[in-house]
Symmetry: D2
Subunit: 285 residues, 4 copies
Amino acid sequence: MNQNIARLLVTCADQAGIVQAVSGFLYHHGANIISLDQHTTEAYGGKYFMRVEFHVEYLADKKQTLLDTFAKNVADKYQMSWRLSCSFDVKKMGILVSKEDHALLELLWRYSRGALPCQITKVVSNHEDLRADVESFGIPFVHIPVGKDNKDEVCDKIDEVMQGNDLLVLARYMQILTPSFVDKWESKVINIHHSFLPAFVGANPYKQAFDKGVKLIGATAHYVTSELDEGPIIEQDVERVSHAFDVAELRELGRDIEREVLSRAVRWYLEDRIILDGNKTVVFD
Amino acid sequence: MNQNIARLLVTCADQAGIVQAVSGFLYHHGANIISLDQHTTEAYGGKYFMRVEFHVEYLADKKQTLLDTFAKNVADKYQMSWRLSCSFDVKKMGILVSKEDHALLELLWRYSRGALPCQITKVVSNHEDLRADVESFGIPFVHIPVGKDNKDEVCDKIDEVMQGNDLLVLARYMQILTPSFVDKWESKVINIHHSFLPAFVGANPYKQAFDKGVKLIGATAHYVTSELDEGPIIEQDVERVSHAFDVAELRELGRDIEREVLSRAVRWYLEDRIILDGNKTVVFD
Amino acid sequence: MNQNIARLLVTCADQAGIVQAVSGFLYHHGANIISLDQHTTEAYGGKYFMRVEFHVEYLADKKQTLLDTFAKNVADKYQMSWRLSCSFDVKKMGILVSKEDHALLELLWRYSRGALPCQITKVVSNHEDLRADVESFGIPFVHIPVGKDNKDEVCDKIDEVMQGNDLLVLARYMQILTPSFVDKWESKVINIHHSFLPAFVGANPYKQAFDKGVKLIGATAHYVTSELDEGPIIEQDVERVSHAFDVAELRELGRDIEREVLSRAVRWYLEDRIILDGNKTVVFD
Amino acid sequence: MNQNIARLLVTCADQAGIVQAVSGFLYHHGANIISLDQHTTEAYGGKYFMRVEFHVEYLADKKQTLLDTFAKNVADKYQMSWRLSCSFDVKKMGILVSKEDHALLELLWRYSRGALPCQITKVVSNHEDLRADVESFGIPFVHIPVGKDNKDEVCDKIDEVMQGNDLLVLARYMQILTPSFVDKWESKVINIHHSFLPAFVGANPYKQAFDKGVKLIGATAHYVTSELDEGPIIEQDVERVSHAFDVAELRELGRDIEREVLSRAVRWYLEDRIILDGNKTVVFD
C-alpha cells in the first residue's frame, strides 16, 4: 500500500467554487488528484458531499500542514465539516460475533490476503465456539458472556476491550447493544442484517420471508443506531429464490449474500467511501 | 402454437403414487409428457402441487374424455383440486390502466409479436390518454371515468365490460377496486406494484425508497386480494441504485423493472405455471 | 431539459494541475460544477480522461467565449483533445434497421417519452416492413433496398440521407457497411451485437451459443469499425439460461437484453459519457 | 443427511411411456418421488434425460434389488444408459491446487459446514504453500512437484494418489494434465476457468479481458477434456466492471466469481444434477 495516499471527505452547503478551492489547495501543496467524486442533494441550495483521493510525496511530513492550512484557507470559508485520512494511518477494526462463522470468516480471509486495508485488533464473542478459528489468524479472541440482566455490564466491557478501534463490525452478533454504547460509538458500528431492509425487520427474517413467499431474499449492511434495524443503509444485495426453498435453504443462501454485502460495506468504510447524510449514506464506490 | 398441447395442474395432500397415477393415466390416453414439475411443502404430510404439460393427438376431440376419466379415475381417488388447460382454448385477457403507458405498451408489444399466448380483448382506463396507443394495436379501448363517490358503479361497469376474460391485468391502474369486485375475480387479477413488497406498501413507494436510502429498488407482480398490496406474490425483481438517484430517476428506472416483472408474471399465468398455496404462489418456471 | 447545461470532455497526458486548471476556468466563468469524473490509465505517466458537467447562466451567449478561452488558456497548455457539448444543441440521431423491430421500438418508445435527449431524424431500412411503426412516431422512414452488388451505392445513399446526424444507430441492421462509409462516420456509429463479445463473433450467435451450451447469453453495444464485431465495446449484459432453452428461446430472451443494452449505450452517447481510449471505451456512467 | 434418498439418472431416446415406466417401477418398490426433472432435445425424436430423486425405507437393503430389477424391467426395454446414486454412498472427492487459495478455501469452508455432501479425501498441490491451510481442516495434503519434463510421471503419481475418488476438482491447479490421465478420469474432473468461456481461452484471461475492454468479467466451471478449455460447461457467472478496473482488480473480483461458480458446479455434481449431452451439459438445478 502506497504510504502517500490521502483522502479528503467534505460536507457543506452547496455553493459555487468548491471544486476550484479544493483542487487549487491540493495543487498548491503538490498533490496529484487520483479521483474526485461529488454529490449534491438538490439542483440548487442542497447539501454538497465530496471525496478526493490524492497522492502527495512525503505525506507523513506534510500531514499537519495540510490539516492546518486546509482548515484555515478552505474549510472555514465554506463552513465545511471534513476529515482527512492518510494511508499510513492504518485503521483499527474490532469484530463482534456470536456462533455463526460465515460473516466473520469471510472478513478474516479477505483481511489475511490484504484485501481489507486495516488492522483487525480483536474479536469479541458471547460464545467460545469460534475461538480456534479466530486465533488461527493470529487475532486475539475475547469471550464476554451475556446473561439475563447484565447488558450494561457487557457493553461496558466491550467498550473497554474495543478502545482505540476506528470501526466495530457486528458479523452476526446476536445481542442488542445499549443506547449509551451506541451513542458512544456513533457512526462507527456496522451491522449485517439478514434481510432486504426495510422489509422483515426484527427476529427471524428468513422465516418471515418464507411465510410471505417473496421471490428474492437479501441482506443489508447498515450503521447501528439506537433504533433497531433502522440505521443508515450502506449496502444491500439480493438473490433469486423460489417456492422450492425451505427456511433452512433460504438461510444458507442468505449467508452467501451476507458475506458479500458485509465485506463490501466494510471495505468501503476502510477506504473512506461512505459519508453520512442524515439517516442515509452517500457511497462513492 | 401447437393445438395439441395440454397442461394439467394438480393440488392435493402429499401421498405415494401420484406421479405414477397421473403418468399412467396420460400414457393410457396416448399422451407424451413434455414436462413435469412437482413441489411438496413438507418432507412428509404436506401439500403436493404438480404441473404436467403433455402432447396428445386430436386433443380437441379427446378433451371431454380426458376430463371425465381423470376426474373419475384419478382426481377423486387422491382428492385433488385440479384443472386442465388446452392450447386451443386461447385465454382471454383484459387490461386496466390509468395514464402511465410503460407497463401497458410492453404487454401490447409482446402480445403483437406472439410472445403472450392469449387474446387481449379490451383495455379499460379511467383516462382517455392512451386510447390512440391501444387502438393502434386493434384492441378496443373503453373509458370508464372515476369520480369521488362512484367506486361501486365503476367496478360494476368494469365487471360488465370485462365479462368472459380469464385474466385481468392492472398495468398501473391507480384506482382501488371494491372488495366485492375482487371477490368475484378472485385469483384472476394481477397487479404490478412499484416496490419490492413487503417493503414500501402504500402510496408513492419511490419516494419512500428515496427517503429510506435503499441501494436497490424493485417491483412486484402479485394477485389482487381485498387486502391492499398483500396478495400472493408472483414475481419480483430489483435493480441497483445509489445516492445519486433522485425520486424521478428512481421512478424512471423502476418503470423498466415493472415492465419486465409484469410481463413475466402475465406470461406465467397464461402458460399455467402458477398455482396458489394459501397466500403464496408456486411458480413452475 | 435545462438549456444551460454543458459538458466538457478532455483527453490528455496525465499531469499535475488539470483539475485545478479546469475547475478554475469554470469558476472564473461563473459555472457551477454538477459532476466531475476522471480516469487515468496508469498510476504515473498514463493517459488522462475527464468529463465535467456544469451549469452556467446564459450558456448560449457564452458558448463561443468559453470555447475560445478554454482553447487558449487551458487546452493548449495541457495539449488536450477536448470537446464542449451544450444542452441546447440537441444531438441528431439516425437509425438503421432491417426487419426485426425490438431494438428499434425500444429506442422510439424511450425517445417518445423524453428519455433519450436527441432528435431522431430518420429511420433507414433495407426492407419496407417497419414503415408504419416508424411513421406512427412521426419520424420519416426511408427504404434503401440492398441487392447483390450494390453495397457501395447503398452506403453512398445512406451517407447522403443521414447527413447532419451526430450519431447513427444500427438497431439490428443486418447489412455490412463499406469501409469507406465506416471511416467517414468514425466513432459515430453504434451497433448492437447479439452476443457477449468477443465470444461468438460472426453469424448466428444464438446458434453458436446453443451449440456451445453456455449458461449465460448476452448482447454487446459497440462502435462500428472496419473490423467486423471488433469495435470498442460500450456496454454489455447477460441473462442466465439453461439446457432447456432452444435456439428460438435464446433469441427471444436475447432480444430483451439487446433492447436494454442498446438503449443504455445510446443514452450514454447522447449524454456525452463515452470517451474513446484506443480500442476501448471510458464510460462515465 | 437422510440415508434413504436415492437419485436415478437416465439418458435414452425420447419415446412415449418413460415417466410412466419409471414412476410405476418406483411406486411398485414403495418409493416416494421427491422430485422429477426431464429434458428432451427435440419436440420429437430427440434425446431424453431424466433425474428422479426418491425416498424409500431401508434403501441400503433394497439397493441391489432396485439395481437388478430396474435394469431388467425398465432400462433394457427403453435402452437407457443410467445410474443410481444412494445418499449413504458418500462420494469421495480429491482437490488439486497450485498456490492460489481462494477456490480451495471456499470448498473447504463449505465442506466443513456440511454444505458439500461428500468426503474430501486429499488435496494435491505442485507447491507446499497451502499445506497448513489444508491440514487445519484435517485433510491430508500431498505435494507432487512438477518439473520441466516429468508431466507423465506427475500425472501417474496423481492418478495413484487419487485412486478411489469419484470426482477431482481443479481449484486453480495451473498445470496441464496429460491426455491419458484425462481419458482415465473422463467426466470426473471439474476445472474452474477464470473467464466467461468461450471468450478468452488460454493464458491470462484477465489480461485479455482488460485489453479487450469488456464490461463484464466471468468464470466458467467445466469438465476437463483433452481439448484445453473446451470441455462441457457446467456453470458460469459474471460481474460488471468498468474502465476503472486494472488487471489486478479484475483478478481480485474474478476470484469471488470463481469461488461461487466452482462451489455451485461441485455441489451439483455431488447431488447428481449434471448429465452429459455430448459436449454440453444438462443441469437439473
